[in-house]
């Protein structure tokens, strides 16, 4: 029996990232597989030890880059647990809404290549079209499409704009339409069923032994969701279901993700109703910056609402206390206070200059959150200075990928493609 060694190399046509799978083949059957990762190792954990707590937030965006707000949320919740501060209610509702938007984009970005790599190119175009409308909502609120850094320590960065409800309704309608079209194309298609049913099967004992969590564990039939088991934010006041699979093969993983998109949309609609309406922004007399400065030079205080830079839209003083916690030692002051009062300037100075800064008490903390792929948590060790001593990310994809070598042994080489695609490997989270 002559064996052939094939290298599915680090640069390969699948849209997921760089990974190298070295397989030994007998004809077309795989005898042994060896998975090599680490081609996107960017040194996140070492870099985070040299930055302050607020400066780590943009790095967390780029970890799981298809659902960036969920990583921000996990980090912010961990630091808030360490500091012991409470987040105001409106900020918690906003965090829930944007977290679920991120989860929908994660599942859409996983389903698009599943279709495309098996030959159904239209599925890719439908899913990316729905994702564009969701990114429009993110763009209008946070300013960026992908790497938003929206969820900060103590709350969120800005309040939603006035046309938020219309944008959200349009995005949800388009997502529903796309999901319905993708169901029509794939879910009962005999070619898709033949290529994904019964391939890449994982049993429940194996799944628990490998440390699976998230949609991959739920597709084997085991019910574990961090939002229901250890509720955080306001998930215990919202009514939603957790879909389960039966067999643990590729088809079940695809169906669990499609059903979770529906449930996330239900959560967003309920949260938008339960959240109180924001304060009405009235068009008062607005004071320009040069007028305020001229009055201050003459020793007077010019009354009225200060006009801020358009980049700071959503952070004005009347909404600031609704979206950020009011703890002067750890949270920045609103911009009007910074520009006009002495206490605001001193507070801002002490939090930004190095050497001072946000100094939590010494200790360690681990807070888990339901990410797009499973249980995502940050383990932070602090020693009392303004830089963290150790930051570690519990990556759900790392434990899932350790099972890939066993999952593809014994199958044909063409089965590697749908199996690998359904596990949703994200390079930034796997290699950190």
């Amino acid at each position: 029996m002559e064996k052939m060694l094939l290298n599915i190399g680090p640069s390969h046509p699948a849209m997921h990232g760089t990974i190298q799978i070295k397989v030994e083949l007998d004809g077309e059957r795989i005898i042994k597989a060896d998975v090599e990762i680490g081609y996107l190792h960017r040194g996140f954990e070492k870099t985070a030890e040299h930055r302050t707590y607020m400066q780590v937030i943009p790095y967390t965006d780029r970890l799981n880059y298809v659902s960036p707000l969920l990583n921000n949320l996990a980090y912010a919740m961990a630091v808030e647990k360490l500091l012991g501060i409470e987040v105001p209610p409106r900020a918690q509702w906003l965090r829930m809404i944007f977290g679920e938007i991120s989860r929908i984009t994660d599942h859409l970005t996983c389903i698009a290549p599943i279709g495309m790599e098996l030959g159904a190119f239209t599925v890719f175009l439908y899913a990316i079209k729905a994702r564009e409308y969701l990114w429009d909502v993110l763009d209008a609120t946070t300013g960026a499409r992908l790497t938003t850094s929206y969820i900060r320590i103590g709350g969120v960065r800005a309040d939603v704009p006035e046309n938020f409800e219309d944008l959200m309704k349009k995005a949800l309608a388009e997502t529903r339409k796309s999901v319905r079209d993708i169901h029509g194309l794939l879910s009962r298609n005999p070619i898709f069923l033949k290529r994904t049913r019964g391939i890449g099967v994982v049993s429940q004992e194996d799944a628990l032994s490998y440390g699976f969590t998230g949609p991959v564990l739920r597709s084997t039939g085991y019910y574990y969701d961090v939002r229901k088991a250890f509720p955080y934010l306001y998930y215990d006041e919202i009514d939603f279901e957790v879909p389960l699979g039966e067999r643990g093969d590729n088809y079940d993983r695809y169906m669990v993700r499609m059903k979770e998109i529906e449930q996330s949309m239900r959560i967003i609609e309920q949260a938008m109703e339960k959240m109180e309406k924001g304060p009405v922004r009235n068009e008062d007399e607005v004071v320009e910056a040069y007028e305020a400065i001229k009055a201050a030079q003459e020793g007077k205080y010019r009354e009225g609402k200060l006009k801020l830079n358009p980049n700071l839209e959503g952070m004005e003083k009347e909404v600031y206390h609704l979206i950020m916690a009011r703890v002067p030692r750890y949270i920045l002051p609103p911009k009007e206070d910074l520009y006009r009062t002495m206490e605001g300037m001193i507070r801002h100075f002490k939090l930004i200059m190095s050497g001072h800064g946000l100094r939590p008490p010494a200790g360690e903390v681990y807070v888990p959150v339901e990410g797009g792929n499973g249980e995502l948590g940050f383990y932070i060790v602090s020693d009392g200075t303004d830089r963290p001593y150790r930051v570690h990310l519990r990556a759900p994809v790392f434990s899932i990928m350790s099972a890939l070598a066993e999952m593809i042994e014994g199958h044909y080489i063409a089965d590697v493609v749908p199996t690998f695609a359904s596990l949703n490997m994200i390079g930034g989270e796997l290699d950190r």
């Binding site: 360690e364 903390v365 519990r394 790392f398």
Partner: protein, 154 residues
């Protein structure tokens, strides 16, 4: 309660953490029997990681294990102090993902695990010398694999 039995049997030291997860210190020899006993209730090994306390403690490293119990909805954290050059038992016969998690700790810190089937680097390449997450490895010291066309940093 299994946690109280285990505390008495193995005489573990307990510590309080900011997030409410029970944290125990365990000496290196008792690690494998302790984990065997905990595996009946705590089905999932979530994470293995390490922290480097260079100069702050007498034993340099601390290896941290996080376990999760799905039926009892509980978590527990076990810490083991390891000095430089010492080895620690492997858990790859109990949980299957311990294989890759321990390879990552070896790659980043240089802590060796006894009995591990395949201990080699996982996130970095074999020609890399040193272990980056140790506190005495400088942040910007890079070891290029091929000849570069221009100097990397000015």
């Amino acid at each position: 309660m299994v946690l109280e039995e285990v505390e008495r049997e193995f005489s573990l030291g307990k510590k309080d953490a900011a997030d409410g997860i029970p944290t125990y210190y365990c000496p290196g020899e008792n690690l494998f029997p302790l984990m065997e006993k905990l595996k009946k209730d705590f089905e999932v090994l979530l994470d293995i990681t390490a922290v480097d306390y260079l100069g702050k403690k007498e034993k340099r490293f601390e290896v941290v294990y996080h376990l999760l119990s799905l039926s009892g909805k509980m978590r527990v954290r076990v810490k083991v102090e390891v000095g430089e050059g010492e080895k620690i038992a492997t858990l790859s016969s109990l949980w299957k993902n311990a294989n890759w998690l321990e390879r990552e700790v070896y790659d980043m810190f240089g802590i060796e695990f006894e009995g591990h089937p395949d201990l080699r680097r996982i996130l970095l390449y074999p020609e890399f010398e040193g272990h980056p997450l140790r506190k005495d490895y400088p942040l910007k010291k890079s070891q290029p694999r091929i000849k570069l066309l221009r100097p990397e940093r000015k």
